[in-house]
Symmetry: C2
Subunit: 214 residues, 2 copies
DNA sequence: GTCTATATACAGATAGAC
DNA sequence: GTCTATCTGTATATAGAC
């Protein structure tokens, strides 16, 4: 009997996962309104009634998926601790990870979805921002404060500075990708973009050479 | 007879304008999928058949509106010529105009709409980017090249630099507004944001003080 | 828990009178 | 050109058998 229950549970949670996976693909691909519960059921290999028995409504299914995506997508991005490495090395390495994540098709699709649905679901959008953007800004700001304390950078408002670096890294890269303006940038163009943003940031927040200027 | 025709034309073009206005409001507010031709007809004070006789399809009406919006929204933003004023004054003034435009509810709604629909209508999205983002980047880059030639700034890649300034001005201001994360920022917070971005940019692209460091 | 079949609503688009 | 009335497809959601 215990075995039977376990098997049933497994099958059930397998179906649940199938539904989540199918719904994620379809919501990311089509957007909220165009995604249909019929198509989700078909792609998950279950009936529509099963989808509803698991998630109750389209809106609830959508929220479940957004919450899961915010977690799984952002996990890989970590600001390295201040311990070793120059600010230039550290920031360059971090910037590469960030831009790489930024341009992932699933990141772009999630961004699209959240921005499009924010007016109808502001709580979910705000929640996602706090789990995503706000968190990485906070982590980068903490790093910048450490470097400021060590005297290797001169950062007065660390949160503002962190947002500036993210802003430069986004540049028009993100919007061009979101709007499908042109083909994906080459590795060389990306590298120039990233190096230039980090270089501008470092010049902007270099410790003032006390002996020279006014 | 000529009078009669003129009167008829006027009434017709009035209805056409009414439809455009109603459709603009509803598309910006509800997004493409949620906007219904019934509601557009009601708000414009005409029948649905009239809407179709003027624009043929929902998609065509949408495209007409996007094209119009791109023009009307971006017209006010002009990069001042290099002629007079320090880079700091010029860039600060331009930055204020840009951020002001950026946070207009209609700009945010248009942004949302374009990003959401880009996968289904990439040509329209690319066209809008070229008429909007790309144009202002080009104009700012031209200004930066002039200042570089005058020796007041040291800008190697003007287009990259322009995108960095725009990126810093966006910062997380734009995404927070798009995602409805919190109430609108105060004038003071906006001013700090803008001043800090311009200051970081100017320090990042200051002409090197030849006498001092290596 | 899972299915088939269906209720109900509303969408985009058009026919045909005037 | 503009209207009323309608066609046709498809959406979310549920009832009821198993």
């Amino acid at each position: 009997m215990a075995t039977s229950v376990t098997t049933a549970d497994r099958r059930t949670s397998t179906k649940r996962r199938d539904i989540l996976r199918a719904a994620t693909e379809i919501f990311l691909d089509a957007g909220y309104e165009r995604a249909s519960m019929d198509e989700i059921a078909v792609r998950a290999g279950v009936s529509k009634a099963t989808v509803y028995s698991h998630f109750g409504s389209k809106e609830a299914l959508f929220e479940a998926i957004i919450r899961e995506l915010c977690q799984s997508l952002l996990t890989p991005l970590q600001v390295p601790p201040s311990s070793r490495g120059s600010p230039e090395e550290t920031l360059l390495s971090f910037a590469r990870s960030y831009v790489d994540l930024l341009l992932q098709p699933s990141s772009l699709a999630l961004h699209r979805l959240l921005v499009a649905e924010a007016p109808r679901n502001p709580e979910l959008a705000a929640l996602s921002y706090r789990a995503g953007g706000a968190r990485v800004v906070g982590e980068l700001a903490a790093y910048l404060r450490q470097e400021d304390a060590k005297g290797s950078l001169a950062v007065a408002d660390a949160k503002l500075a962190a947002e500036q670096l993210f802003g430069m890294l986004n540049g028009h890269l993100q919007i061009r990708a979101l709007l499908r303006v042109d083909e994906n940038p080459t590795r060389e163009a990306l590298d120039r973009h990233i190096r230039s943003a980090v270089a501008t940031f470092l010049r902007g927040y270099a410790t003032a050479p006390d002996g020279s200027g006014s």
